[in-house]
Symmetry: C2
Subunit: 313 residues, 2 copies
């Protein structure tokens, strides 16, 4: 079985870690949102790609889910001393990734090639690929104005009220070669428990992606990042509410109508299974909360079981 | 009195610190060699400029004379993990300087403007300026081939035998605006105790500089970096020998014939004073070894005294 996982950062990365413990490198390709990418101090930062890489390499900070464990911030302090804005907390180890990525981009390498280079040096066998090698910028329309994603997310701590989202550059972008190949050759597609607006929508904004997922030949699963009416992490609940959607797994499920055959909800949301089915998707109930590596592997195993049992098309 | 100090890294920086404790900001301009500059990991590094800046800001590592005190190397370790060559030991705090410099260069700022920006943020009143805003690369011809300066200096620890030196790019370079202005307006010129081949020769390689120093209207002093037949720091002695020159303050003094009125030698070399005079320069003897801040200020004070007493032109 060959699975294609679509993911954002922290929550999705946890599931990808679980999948990577079960599936062989040639059985899994992980496609990552790059709409959050931003330049800081002239360095090109890809937060979601890095979170997935660090999580699979077991380098990630277990307390935050992003960044590197045992990280220090000496360069950031020195950047502050030199008059730079330092609201985006780049760690010393993490900076090496951005320094090398920036150098390799300037040398003409694609983001796909650079990510492959990193994975090789971090000893990762599984393929992690950006959704696109082109620059797509998630831009957040809010009550205080239009903000670049990281300005909204980190600088303003998601406090402004969201009125809309744009994915600047997506019109002229193309899917990365690895993503494109995987859409053709994979047997199953898994939407990881990522923010539907901030992590999945940018992927879907790339021309042809929505259509190709609608036409995908195998079972398509999605895992709700909202459990018991709350986001497990991040602003998904707040944004669902601000955009007039139910703050529940049903609000998430509605985003996947036509794109997903099996919608996975948590045990806590068991009573909403029929509402999922009413949207035209199969509903599968399981524990989706991942507090440790065992939870991640367990969820991955149960999802792959659901894939093989999916009665679709 | 307005003094113009020409300097390389560690030894010269110590004297500049001393001068800056005595002279007001508008009485001193420090012009720094940039022939050692190199890109590492896509970041633009100016070792001598940074050493002078850090020394004046009292940030420098007192044990090495270069780098920043209490420095850590987390980014370098992570760069190594990502497959980068890490023989040039960039510290975490130091990296902030190179990151900001690279960003500002890409934004179109000159090295002079960037250095001024750094000095302002480090609270330095005295002007530190690069010898040129153009790229001049010191290149070392050796028995194992032609090497970029840092490859010779750091990677090969100055071990290859030097057969010649080139300053690539100098033919088409110009002096920086601050250097040019200072050559016109200063009352005295001080060659700091820097390596004549590696630190001073690149400055002299810029078109018109040698002529303008020959024509300089005030007293010109040079301080020998060779004391008692040995370099106080670095490969000056080894290079003098390899290029067939005396490994003594006289070997250094010969490099300054026509450029210098007063040659300052250490008490240890008192018996060579007449040899200096035979080269057509006034010889002044004083302690030139700087082991602490008091020594630096003392040497600066004695040099400035020698300047005022210089009986030249």
């Amino acid at each position: 079985m060959r699975a294609l996982a679509l993911t954002g950062g922290v929550g999705g990365a946890k599931l990808c870690f679980g999948l990577a413990q079960i599936l062989e490198p040639d059985e899994l390709r992980i496609v990552v949102n790059t709409g959050d990418d931003e330049e800081f101090h002239g360095l090109y930062v890809c937060p979601d790609l890095d979170t997935v890489m660090y999580t699979l390499a077991e380098l990630s900070n277990p307390h935050t889910g992003w960044g590197i464990k045992n990280e220090t911030f000496a360069t950031l302090s020195a950047l502050d001393r030199l008059g730079q804005e330092t609201w985006f907390g780049l760690g010393d180890q993490d900076l090496a990734t951005h320094i090398v990525r920036t150098q390799m981009l300037r040398q003409g390498n694609s983001l796909s090639e650079i990510t492959e280079h990193f994975c090789r040096h971090l000893g990762l066998g599984h393929q992690i690929v950006p959704m696109s090698d082109d620059r797509i910028r998630t831009t957040v329309e809010t009550d205080i104005g239009t903000l670049p994603f990281q300005t909204y997310f980190v600088r303003h701590r998601c406090e402004p009220t969201v009125t809309g989202l744009r994915f600047d550059g997506s019109d002229s972008s193309e899917v990365s070669p690895g993503f494109s190949e995987s859409l053709e050759s994979s047997d199953a597609l898994i939407f990881c428990p990522s923010n539907p607006y901030l992590s999945v929508a940018p992927i879907l904004s790339i021309p042809s992606v929505r259509k190709r997922i609608e036409d995908f030949k195998g079972p398509r699963l999605a895992v709700s990042p909202i459990v018991g009416g709350q986001a497990l992490k991040g602003p998904a609940g707040k944004i669902l509410a601000e955009l007039g959607e139910d703050v529940s797994c049903i609000g998430v499920a509605r985003q996947y109508v036509g794109l997903c055959d099996v919608f996975v909800i948590d045990e806590l949301d068991r009573d909403l299974a029929d509402d999922v089915r009413n949207l035209g998707m199969e509903a599968v109930v399981m524990n989706t909360i991942m507090n440790n590596n065992r939870d991640k592997v367990e969820l991955a195993r149960n999802l792959l079981q659901a894939v093989t049992e999916a009665d679709v098309r």
